[in-house]
């Protein structure tokens, strides 16, 4: 993709064959929770946080995962990074099945897969200076032959992340920096050991609106310059549009729509996608807010609705939606929807 005068001009990449960096097949993660039912007793119930998710990200490409809190997007991210182990399903990174990884190979995987967390105030160790936080991964993965070499690598990436003069920021503690600056350090840390795969979990939701653009622009630049496979997670579809080539809309553990971002935003096949688009914050006072595409609250994940999980909130709900779960249907090339409106 090229930027020309601030507007994207899509490049035809058909001739290029890109590597699949990360792939998830029928990924499921169920949690056991104890829930208080009537009165004093606690029952064992299951929360189906991720329920049959298929994902594929090529190098140089960014996939956006969008959905409300509790839809399973963060759990999916943690599964892809092997911070959780799946209940079912396979995850393949650069050709390797990551469920079998142990010891040295696991460490190699840790170098390849990195994450930027949502909370810039929590993701940095409060007792470490920036330089210690950045040099640590280099030491762990034995990058650089001396302290000076590692310091240079760390300083360079800090500069690339927009913190200048870098040598001054290297000496700072997290509490001496603003939220935006901390997030830049977090991005630098994720990229310092040259991973091939980066997940950004709500990277700007805790930052002021005026500095979000800076962080999003930085992420975009880094992902494209280093040809990484990126996954961005957000509950705000406008952020996803800005930074992702493809988008997967998640609801209660399932991907309800998947496809190229621009097409998804135009066609908005799934009613939930429509609702997400309707809810995007708009600074134009003439365009009055009116939520017409969705009603009610997200349900308790322990008590999932029967049939289509979205049906109690869907304005286009039909009889069949209440009893039967919809299958995934390909509505266009490379574009999939899980909704009875499009079932054959």
């Amino acid at each position: 993709m090229i930027w020309k005068h601030g507007i994207i001009v899509m490049e035809n990449n058909m001739a290029e064959v890109k590597n699949k960096v990360i792939e998830a097949i029928n990924l499921k993660k169920y949690f056991d929770v104890k829930v208080k039912t009537n009165g004093m007793f606690r029952e064992e119930r299951e929360v189906k946080a991720v329920d049959g998710v298929n994902i594929e990200v090529l190098e140089g490409e960014t996939l956006g995962l969008v959905g409300e809190s509790g839809c399973g997007k963060t759990t999916t991210a943690k599964l892809l990074l092997k911070l959780y182990n799946p209940t079912e399903g396979k995850i393949i990174c650069n050709g390797m099945d990551i469920s079998k990884l142990k010891g040295k190979n696991l460490k190699k995987f840790r170098k390849e897969a990195q994450m930027v967390f949502q909370d810039p105030y929590e993701s940095l160790n409060p007792r470490y200076r920036v330089k210690d936080t950045l040099i640590d991964p280099l030491i762990i993965h034995k990058i650089g032959n001396s302290y000076e070499e590692r310091y240079e690598i760390a300083k360079n990436i800090l500069e690339e992340s927009g913190l200048r003069p870098a040598h001054k920021f290297m000496e700072r503690y997290p509490h001496e920096m603003s939220g935006g600056q901390r997030q830049r350090v977090a991005i630098a840390r994720a990229l310092v050991a040259s991973p091939s795969f980066l997940i950004a979990d709500e990277p700007v939701s805790m930052l002021d609106v005026s500095i979000r653009a800076g962080i999003l622009n930085l992420l975009r630049k880094m992902i494209s310059e280093r040809n990484l496979a990126g996954i961005t997670i957000s509950h705000d579809i406008s952020l996803i549009r800005y930074i992702s080539d493809k988008t997967a809309v998640m609801y209660l553990g399932k991907i309800v729509e998947y496809g190229e971002t621009e097409k998804l935003i135009q066609k908005k096949y799934h009613p939930y996608t429509e609702a997400l688009l309707e809810a995007v914050p708009n600074p134009d006072p003439d365009i009055k807010l009116s939520l017409e595409k969705i009603k009610g609250e997200a349900p308790d994940p322990v008590n999932l609705p029967k049939g289509c999980r979205f049906h109690p909130r869907c304005m286009k709900c039909m009889e069949i939606c209440k009893s039967k779960e919809p299958e995934t249907v390909q509505v266009e090339k490379g574009h999939y929807v899980q909704c009875h409106l499009y079932s054959k």
Partner: protein, 337 residues
Amino acid sequence: MALLDINDLTIEYKLSDGKVRAVDDVTLKVENGDVLGLVGESGCGKTTLIKAVMGLLAKNGKAVSGQIMYKEKDLLKLNKNQIRKVRWNDISMITQSAMNSLNPVYRVGWQINEAILEHTNFSKEQANEKSKSLFDLVGLERDRLEDYPHQYSGGMKQRAIIAMSLALDPNIIIADEPTTALDVIVQSQILERINKLLDGYDGSMILVTHDISAVAQTCNKIAVMYGGKIMEYGDIRQVLKQPNHPYTMGLKNAFPSITGEKKELVSIKGVPPDLSKEIRGCRFKDRCPFVIKKCIEIEPEKVKTEKGFFRCSRYEEIDKIREMSDDMETWNNCNGE
């Protein structure tokens, strides 16, 4: 007579190594029926300002000049008891992490009842009835009054807090970042609900946030704060459609759109000024792409507009500046620091 009349207010915090001037010479009026949006980034002074109105300033904070007039009384001169009466009864506040201010060991209905009973002569039954009608107002089911806070979702907790803030029919409701921690859909639902509430309400609201879109959806007036000063103030349509201050222009362009072609987002480079030091010239000078020598040396004067004002030394060229602010290159070429 304005409902709330803030004049030349300056608030300083005393620290172990000096003073921080969090609010500098702020003048603001809130008329009855106004919904005022107070916008600015973290550290711009907006939270300090409303804390002063509520009498909740930290111990080391003091108003060194100015007054906050409410019903012909200067709120800054009231003692603790008098302020308590004003709080909740006349001016109520929804704090930033309001969702966490519900006591987890008491039922929600009980907590609202207590707030009512403490400040009025209602009987228990009357308080109960009031709680039920409040829940209707905010769109929560009545039998939810019997539940504990942990049984509520984030959006529901926020609505319960809004209900509590309305319990005593205050004249002014101050909401400090009421939707920041919520998902977009819930955020939109809450803002929609706030709009509905304010439609038939006899009173005013001050919405404090860093999110211009929330203000665009609910407010009729807006004040943009930066570095402790109000940089622009006026009617919402005028300020957001035709902003007069470069900072407002930058903020407007910080929202990724979902319609039309994809545009590159404006990123205002740099960081807010250090308010513990004397600031010469305009506060925004380090980050403004339109800065000239005059801006660095002289503090910009207040320039009056039709229904408000703004502070910019280049006020004569505002139209040209506005045009340039729509171009990303202007902001990218700015030095920042």
